[in-house]
């Protein structure tokens, strides 16, 4: 049975985006991505998804809480 290079590329996607692959593995992934628009599209989507999720779930801190925290500071004598 021949390993599907796209399956291999799929397995490398998370560690690739996390920056935890070795240099050799990065080269291997990028070589495949240059010639495979199917995988390249999915990598690009994943990178955008991470950003999109981060923005979507980030709620600004309520100003009242910020004021309460500031009030916890030790008073200057």
């Amino acid at each position: 049975m021949i390993d599907d290079p796209c399956d291999k590329c799929e397995e490398m996607m998370q560690p690739y985006l996390d920056g935890t692959l070795s240099d050799a593995e990065v080269r291997e992934a990028e070589r495949h991505l240059e010639g495979c628009s199917w995988c390249a599209k999915r990598y690009h989507f994943e990178a955008r998804l991470r950003h999109y999720v981060r923005v979507a779930v980030s709620e600004p801190m309520p100003p009242e809480l910020k004021a309460r925290l500031a009030a916890l500071r030790t008073p200057l004598t």
Partner: protein, 198 residues
């Protein structure tokens, strides 16, 4: 003259300590937005998240001398927050809950699912992404079991390193990686389930 020396030294020490304390408090407060962002997604409601952040800062300001200058203050604050969250009894069990995944879904699963149900042929990535509303993303993350969600919140939302996340949650780095791997897949499964109709 010799009698005044110790008291002078002592007053200098106290003055230095006061300056260190002020600096510590200022630096900690500058990180409060980031601490809140993590807290908000670790617990269920905004009120709980606010309480947790306030208690974290109360404890941090009380125990400021235990912080080692030059180390990661943001991780130190989050470690306090995580411990307080455990103390609040949110965690009935420490072992990760399991969530059935339909087989072992691959990392391309979400894209494949969304693309195949988008009417146009070969849509671009932004068009596919539009299928996910902000509310659906918030709900999909909230539905990830907490042991997996905590790791996602720290690494993907809070942008902590694996090593910092391991220290904050007091778990081995290998466990951070495996929970992140599985947690992201659970999140994607939830996102696929909650995607808006094309």
């Amino acid at each position: 003259m010799s009698e005044s020396t110790p008291s002078t030294a002592e007053s200098r020490r106290l003055a230095q300590e006061a300056r260190d304390r002020v600096r510590f408090e200022e630096e900690a407060l500058e990180l409060s937005d980031q601490v809140y962002r993590v807290s908000r997604r670790m617990v269920g409601s905004r009120e709980e998240a606010e309480d947790l952040v306030q208690q974290t800062y109360e404890r941090a300001f009380r125990s400021w001398k235990q912080f080692t200058p030059g180390t990661n203050l943001r991780a130190w604050l989050l470690r306090i927050l995580t411990n307080l969250n455990i103390d609040r009894g949110r965690r009935v069990q420490r072992s990760p809950q399991t969530t059935p995944l339909d087989g072992e879904l691959g990392d391309y699963f979400l894209y494949n699912k969304l693309e195949s149900t988008t009417p146009e042929q070969n849509p671009d990535e932004e068009r596919v992404l539009e299928r996910l509303s902000q509310d659906s993303i918030v709900d999909a993350l909230a539905d990830v079991p907490h042991d997996f969600r905590d790791v996602i919140v720290l690494v993907d939302i809070g942008e902590f390193s694996y090593a910092d996340a391991a220290q904050i949650l007091d778990i081995p780095i290998g466990t951070v990686m495996s929970r992140l791997h599985r947690g992201r897949r659970i999140l994607k499964k939830n996102l696929a389930d909650k995607a808006v109709a094309p």
